[in-house]
């Protein structure tokens, strides 16, 4: 179990230098407040962009997804320390992301109207005798 015993002091004891292990630092120096500031700014941008009138549905969706992806990248790489992780973690993430994109793209021909494969043609009327 990774616990320190309840100590009278609030801080951990200074470690000795044990057999060939390195002196630990708790983490890489990340300015969490700066990332938070970036996230707030991007949220404001997201809301501001919503008030710009855009005709095409596809452009609206892509723009929203792009800004959201930048925010997601900031959270993932810095808050979740993904920047410092090894290849295994990236591989674990890559597969579902790929599958998700495939899932959405494969359903589009079924439901989305107005594309070359889902254009509606006028009903020709009942069959003539």
């Amino acid at each position: 179990m990774d616990t320190t015993t309840p100590a009278t002091a609030d801080r951990m004891q200074e470690p000795e230098e044990p057999h060939g292990h390195t002196v630990p630092e708790p983490h890489h120096a990340i300015n969490y407040y700066a990332i938070f500031g970036l996230l707030v700014v991007l949220t404001v941008v997201t809301v501001a962009v919503a008030y710009i009138h855009i005709e095409r549905e596809l452009v609206k969706v892509l723009l929203a997804l792009t800004i959201a992806s930048i925010k997601a990248a900031a959270v993932a790489f810095y808050f979740m320390h993904l920047k410092f992780e090894g290849k295994l973690i990236y591989l674990i993430l890559l597969l579902p992301v790929f599958l998700c994109i495939v899932l959405i793209l494969s359903l589009i021909p079924d439901i989305v109207h107005g594309l070359p494969f889902n254009r509606m043609t006028p009903y020709p009327g009942p069959a003539q005798e």
Binding site: I30, F36, F79, G86, I92, C100, V112
Partner: protein
């Protein structure tokens, strides 16, 4: 020697002095990332459904999306992003062994989570009180006639149906009998030629109702009929879209929003109608709360609230935000456990880190949900 005996926490990414490739990733960390990978697929399954449904009915989705509150959702976004910050600070504090900072950061994270759920409860309750209804309602009656008279109105509908005030319902009267329901008209004093009254909710029937203006409350065949200059009766069937709450011991709704006469022709599905459509109908008017418009429940023809049953947009919205809300609630459990342990002076750096990863993921999902549901 174990970490416990060393008295410190091994660094999560310590460079290996032999191979310099870093410590092998801990199984716990692989485990939590595998869980998050499956959660990504779970959420994208539902989110992808929303995107596909939206592509199939973009106008419906955009129109119904307008009924959601951007303000509350924006506030919730900032709350969740802030809780992500405090979570990262908590992970940091647990690795440094800083008990006070850890407890404070965890406590703020839990508070943010509870705030998020509170705002969600407000949003949901607001939606469940928002109804689209087809019914008859209190209708204003305006009569223009000679001034300084005392006038009464007798209401009948074609087919000699008469509103029985004590029963609260329409019933057939015999063709020979006069209508039994009479209401006094107000006004007509000081030379004004306008008389008004409110006719309580009647039967759902055709819009053309007959109004007879008389000078006596007791209509008999010898009664004097008045020929008014004009009669305006807004009676009949209406469609309402707005907020309702129970009044009269649950027998009626008090309504606030938009109402319009029920369109005689064309397709009309209350599940596809939102407030903007009702406002665009001919004869629509906006009803303020203090106008006390009442809809008697037994006179309701069709009624739906803005819940997940209304249409595809709301089904997607409630599924997405509901499932996300459950994830927030679930996250409060490990956060609280870690908080209690921190207050007792016990650290769990690895567990805090894993909880942090989960919490950041929950924030990530919301970062995608917010623009896709509320803003486009």
């Amino acid at each position: 020697m174990t970490a416990l005996e060393h008295g410190y926490v091994p660094e999560e990414h310590a460079p290996d002095p032999v191979t310099s490739h870093g410590d092998p990733t801990r199984p716990g960390k692989i485990g939590i990332w595998l869980f998050l990978a499956s959660e990504i697929m779970f959420f994208v399954g539902i989110l992808g459904t929303y995107i596909i449904y939206r592509s199939g009915a973009p106008e419906l989705f955009a129109r119904h999306g307008e009924t959601l509150s951007k303000g509350w959702a924006g506030f919730n976004t900032l709350v969740l992003i802030f809780s992500s910050l405090t979570m990262a600070l908590a992970v940091d504090a647990s690795q440094r062994g800083d008990r006070k900072r850890l407890a404070a950061a965890l406590a703020v994270t839990v508070l943010c989570a509870l705030t998020f759920m509170g705002v969600k409860a407000i949003e949901y309750s607001d939606k469940f009180h928002h109804h689209t209804i087809v019914a008859a309602a209190d209708a204003p009656l305006t009569v223009k006639a000679d001034a300084n008279q005392t006038l009464y109105a007798t209401i009948t509908t074609p087919g000699r149906q008469v509103f029985n005030a004590s029963m609260g319902s329409f019933e057939r009267s015999s063709p020979k009998k006069w209508a039994e329901y009479v209401i006094p008209l107000q006004g007509g004093g000081e030379g004004s030629d306008t008389y008004t009254a409110i006719v309580p909710a009647g039967a759902a029937g055709p819009n053309n109702v007959n109004v007879y203006i008389r000078t006596s409350a007791e209509p008999t065949s010898k009664d004097k009929k008045v020929k008014p200059a004009s009669v305006e009766y807004g009676g009949g069937v209406f469609v309402f879209d707005g907020h309702v709450h129970d009044v009269d011991g649950g027998k009626a709704y008090a309504f606030e929003g938009w109402m319009a006469p029920y369109p005689e022709s064309g397709e009309f599905d209350i599940n596809l109608i939102s407030e903007s459509e009702v406002a665009a109908l001919p004869g629509a008017r906006q009803v303020e709360e203090d106008e006390s418009v009442r809809i008697a429940k037994e006179r309701i023809n069709a009624d739906t609230s803005y819940g997940p049953w209304k249409n595809n947009f709301f089904a997607s919205y409630f599924t997405l935000t509901g499932v996300h809300g459950l994830h927030v609630l679930g996250g409060i459990v490990p956060l609280s456990i870690l908080l209690v342990q921190a207050l007792r002076g016990r650290f769990f750096p690895h567990h805090t880190e894993y909880t942090g990863l989960y919490w950041h993921f929950v924030d990530l999902v919301w970062i995608f949900l917010f623009p896709l549901l509320y803003l486009i």
